[in-house]
């Protein structure tokens, strides 16, 4: 590995700043290579990537909302009253 290539290897901050384009496959091949090189030698950043990736799924579970039956009933009654008068 040449010196110039070494000097481009990402640090933790640059790696974490690049996570969104990295996970969406939108990084340039060069930057992706720099990021992968960093991850290969940085276990804390690997854990960070894993937990960043898991965050949305945990939030989806925590933020599930269901519609109470009485609200569904009111919605149906409202729509009937509005649409029958059309």
């Amino acid at each position: 590995m040449g010196l110039s290539r070494q000097s481009h290897m990402f640090n933790c901050k640059e790696s974490i700043d690049s996570l969104l384009p990295f996970l969406e496959g939108e990084m340039s091949p060069e930057d992706e290579e720099h990021l992968r090189q960093h991850l290969n030698g940085c276990p804390p950043c690997v854990e960070f990537v894993n937990t960043y990736r898991a965050t949305s799924g945990l939030c989806r579970k925590a933020l599930v909302k269901s519609m109470p039956p009485e609200v569904a009933g009111r919605l149906r009654a409202y729509l009937r009253s509005k649409l029958e008068t059309k």
């Binding site: 640090n11 901050k13 974490i16 804390p44 854990e47 894993n50 937990t51 965050t55 269901s66 519609m67």
Partner: protein
């Protein structure tokens, strides 16, 4: 939604467009949970969410003839609901988009992570049942996000809207949407990480 459900929606939609009220009610049955859930997450008010669901389906019915079916019916009403929720939020208050105090990882002067994560809790995301305390911590952290970040996060990661749709609805550029999404995810990741460090 499965391919079969989308096809069923198309059939129901065609009947509803021809004036069959029961077909429209069947479409409401299929999509009301998702619409109400979006509205409740966005507004955090059951009363507002119920009204948004009403407005959304009434508006969908009034514009049925204009719907050409390029997108799925579910996506269409979902977008209407998201727009209604955003309009309501904007009517209620000036959006707070200050982000200076958004949590996120800290770095040393050389750009290294200042704090090493204690454990990789990502596997726990696969658990079917979410720990009640963790759920509460996540809801509190989401509520604590500045409004402009919270809405982008919800619209993208919970509701699955595209960057283009969010950019148009929220009125900011796609790079700004992505930046807010990333900052919101970092803040929420920090909150979950803090939860696991405490337990």
């Amino acid at each position: 939604m499965t391919q079969t459900s989308v096809e069923d929606d198309r059939e129901l939609l065609a009947r509803a467009q021809a004036g069959d009220m029961s077909a429209f009610e069947a479409l409401v049955d299929r999509h009301e949970e998702k619409v109400y859930g979006l509205a409740l997450r966005m507004t955090r008010s059951e009363a507002d969410a119920a009204e948004i669901a009403q407005d959304t389906f009434l508006s969908a019915y009034q514009h049925l003839s204009e719907f050409r079916g390029e997108a799925a019916f579910g996506s269409w009403v979902h977008r209407i609901a998201a727009n209604n929720a955003l309009m309501r939020l904007r009517r209620q208050k000036v959006l707070d988009i200050v982000s200076d105090d958004l949590a996120g990882p800290e770095f040393t002067d050389r750009g290294s992570l200042a704090e090493v994560p204690e454990s990789d809790w990502s596997k726990r995301a696969d658990d079917k049942i979410l720990d009640e305390e963790l759920g509460r911590a996540i809801r509190e952290a989401t509520d604590a996000l500045p409004e402009g970040y919270r809405e982008v996060f919800l619209l993208k990661d919970l509701e699955g809207l595209s960057y283009e749709e969010i950019s148009e609805m929220v009125g900011i550029s796609i790079p700004a949407v992505k930046s807010r999404l990333h900052r919101a995810r970092l803040a929420l990741r920090e909150a979950i990480d803090a939860f696991y460090k405490e337990v």
